[in-house]
Assembly symmetry: C4
Homo-oligomer: 340 residues x 4
């Protein structure tokens, strides 16, 4: 029996075996009854594909761009906190593995390596996930990100407070004393800000030339507002089922966001991506790319940078095969006629 990972799910038990139970539960938990956590997978599994045949797929091409940056496949690494819980090298290993796989990583404000360390370890393009709080400190963070070579800001908009991750609460998770939010040394960490509004986005746009992507939009109404506030992109996300339990799955919310946005900006998706066919379904419904979160943490825990590279590589291969088997040799060939 070959025990190397065959798919992304295979990293899950490997990671669990290597991690502390409280950290494991912190990563895995959804909020409340985890209805949305489960629905994120169920919604992908409900979608039925209509493959086409007798198309020349001898040379399938998964490459694409996001905000103009070329990537090997429409696959990115979603921001998440505290990678050192999974692996001693933390986000530096994630960045190295992501770049080696030709993908783009979105580094979290709450990383356990500083954004400069991550940038130094990275071999591929980076975006910076931002929590906005008091403006002077936020501005300092943004300027550091720009200096360190991050190409876009991904502003999390669905976390004015933290969802109630009960599995984690029962465990009593706290960051081990040997770890810290490495982007903050002289000041307390910036965290979610419940008073943030669209005006905050305007202010952010006024202080930086980096493109701004909003992460956590689930409605056409908010997508329309995002257009009015001139953002560069949207990540349709329910935060991996960790915020409002009962929220619509991201893949079910995608069409209304895409319809509201049209071709004005790029729309991405996270929350529940595990298979190449999930990426294919997301693209067919209008996404530009899909972001992976928990599977990256699993692969990082299982095998560090190499694990991350392998996991992204597996997903890219699955996507390439799914494109071939559905008669869509290029990303541009993937459209909604693929969905039943």
């Amino acid at each position: 029996m070959d025990t190397r990972p065959v798919n992304l799910f295979d990293y899950e038990p490997l990671a669990q075996a290597r991690m502390e139970p409280d950290a494991w539960n912190y990563f895995q938990s959804g909020s409340d009854d985890e209805v949305t956590l489960r629905e994120n997978r169920a919604a992908f599994e409900r979608i039925r594909l209509r493959p086409r045949v007798l198309v020349d797929v001898s040379a399938c091409d998964t490459t694409t761009t996001v905000l103009g940056t070329p990537i090997a496949a429409p696959i990115m690494v979603s921001p998440s906190a505290f990678h050192c819980l999974a692996h001693p090298e933390g986000e530096c290993a994630t960045a190295a593995g992501t770049g080696a796989a030709g993908a783009l990583m979105v580094a979290s404000t709450s990383s356990t390596r500083s954004m400069e360390e991550i940038a130094a370890a990275a071999s591929g393009p980076l975006w910076f996930q931002l929590y906005v709080h008091d403006r002077p400190r936020t501005q300092a963070l943004v300027e550091r990100a720009a200096r360190a070579g991050y190409r876009a800001l991904v502003v999390t908009v669905d976390a004015p407070y933290w969802g109630h991750k009960e599995r984690s609460i029962r465990m009593g998770f706290a960051l081990p004393p040997t770890m810290r939010k490495a982007n903050f040394i002289d000041s307390p960490p910036i965290d979610a800000d419940p008073s943030m509004t669209w005006e905050t986005i305007d202010w952010l746009r006024s202080i930086t030339s980096l493109p701004i992507v909003l992460k956590g939009i689930l409605t056409g109404e908010d997508a329309e507002l995002a257009m009015r506030h001139h953002v560069a992109g949207i990540v349709v996300s329910n935060h991996g089922g960790r915020q409002l339990d009962g929220s619509v799955s991201s893949i079910d919310a995608l069409p209304e966001v895409v319809e509201a946005v049209g071709s004005r900006v790029e729309v991405y998706i996270d929350s529940g991506i595990r298979r190449g066919t999930d990426v294919l379904k997301a693209l067919a419904l209008g996404a530009r790319a899909a972001l992976l979160c928990r599977p990256i943490l699993w692969a990082l825990a299982a095998d560090g940078a190499h694990g991350v590279e392998q996991a992204i590589g597996l997903l890219r291969k699955e996507l390439g095969l799914a494109m071939a088997l559905s008669g869509r040799p290029t990303i541009a060939d993937i459209d909604c006629s693929l969905i039943r």
Copy 2:
């Protein structure tokens, strides 16, 4: 592992461990095959939310009013019989805990403490649940309730007879000899009356100035009739799945009742409320407030008045968080656009 209750479900095993099996089954049982009992939860879980973002939710306000009475959150305590089965102080403890949590309690005709004792123990507003039977005794009850400071009458209209609670029937439940229906000393208790009609409601209205709320309506037709008979409010309820098995869940029945009523009177809901997001969903579909039943009994059994206060507090916190995470900082902001 922290073992304090994290949510309302956590009170259930604590209560079961403290209660006699026959009393426990009396509280827990639904009627017949418990299809409606299960559906009450399933229907809430099927509803998908559409959260909005970038709204200032730094100061969420859960306060509201019911029939003009301010309460800390749109959460009330539903009437249920025999609280002494759960805790020696019975309804007095429930009333004390409910008031301490800023909520309103509906005391049952079939309480094991008298309505006057309950009123004396209460620190918050009270309504009185009424079974209507022979008119002189009913009128006496109503007058006592008014004198004791109860602010409204909640007339149960879905119990001309008792549903067949088979779990309880198999156990052979009977009220222990040390307990009794404390509102009745000189006369036999008033119970469900199968001959009650809309005319009974008219009569009731003629003998009291207390507002009358009907509990147990599940159709638009009956909501329309309730308007013609000038009631002050409606509780959409299937009696916690304890009456007609196969009845529609209360949350699925809510929209047609709300549509029939419009803004003429307040509509409340019970049967299946366990989460802050359930309250949020009920309000989005037009309810003014939600009533809790079994979770209150669980908390009462687990920890008396303090348990009741804590349980209502937990639900209120969940509601506040759900309002923040859905971008609805006040009760007035919650509307049907929140529902997919």
Copy 3:
């Protein structure tokens, strides 16, 4: 713990404990994968009721008539073969118990007591279920039925061959040597006839003045044909999931049959009735009465005539309670507005 049956399901394990495994499997088995057998229950459980309130239900009346014969409730006993497998007195006990409960029994051609013995034992009205085969022998059967006082003929039309009851086939069921089809002594038993057509119905009508009811119709088209051939009634049935597996459940087929028939003749239903609310749902969708099959066999095996009487009594009580709890005090009050 009280162990007397509380509902019809309770008779099932009692019967299994008393019966030979091969006979038990013969009664219980559905055809093929038992998809229709399961669907018969699932379809009833999917239906949601809309109870009305504040109707005077102090005197609910379950009485009705079928083809002009008064019965205590819209509940009849469906024909089934070989009651002696369940109880030594066989169909005689069934008839005695059914009559004692105020119900009507349809005796099977394949009974293990003769139709004359059954009629002698019966205390209530009887109909005779008929398999049509060669005409002289069929005519003789019909004449005997009329002489013995049977008031209608129920012609089974869904059994040109026997469905593949695999549980039973694996067991190798055969009628014990001590039992036989008691209606046949000098000639081989009449069984299903695959060449029967509508013309056969016309012939049958020509030789008897007994009203003819067709059992096993599941489509509006056949209901329309039945009208053209002047039958007196229709039993919507899939033979308890024992004939064509994958057939629509009888309760889902009922509306199209009722729509085709209008008020011209009575429509009955069997297959899956276990609860008073099932009868209520069937009546709301247009049935005149519901027929019970397996629960009668269970009750017969459990406790003979007394068991049958008790089981029908339980169901009648459940129906009465369901009528009261849905605000329908008489059979005539039950209409489709009860169904969501």
Copy 4:
């Protein structure tokens, strides 16, 4: 307890007991999460039948023709590789058993007996399944097939690459050294070709007078293209859930293919056929015949040619019974009014 197979499912454990685990998993596995593998069965089970009654079904006739060839029932044997994994006589046994049952076998390019050996062993009509690769070798194969008496070419169009059969991958399946693709001696085997297009079909048509059937079409669009390229038939198939996971089930795709094709060519179906009622449903939705795959391999492993003959015979009997019980005595009587 009789242990002879009662239905096709019964062959599954018999086969598993006789086969090497890696070969077993190779046959059984679907791709990825096996969503489509499960859906192939679930989709059949969801379909509800509307049987008609009082039709003379004393002489049901399952015979039909495919491309003009008479067969005993609308049942064929789908092409699959490596029958020697199931039984030492491999495809020769399959062909003998299939012919004995009056059915037609589609022999695979990847057979472990050569097409000439299979033809010699066959007692019934044969078609040849073709993978198209470099044209000279493909043409040689086609000419051999014509010479050996194969009556049609079935071109697999859904396998430009192999789906990711993970159960099999984990097992590390490889063809045992004692077996080989017997159609190829001097040259490497022809396998899936990812560059194949509709032009390839045109070329194939130019080099042979054998009718060409495309296997693996799931959309109306491709069915329309197939018409333009003058094929003789279409097999609606998702390759038994072994190619693109998440693909629509074949029975759910059938109606749109039938609608696109009209009566121009014959449409067949495979993927998930296990019951006579499945064949009945497929025909009701417009298929000319259904192809069996895994059940044939199970029966072959369980009992060689005799097993194959018995299995097809069982299915034919089931179909005949299903036709009788649905009031459709001939294949021509089966239409879409049978489906709810």
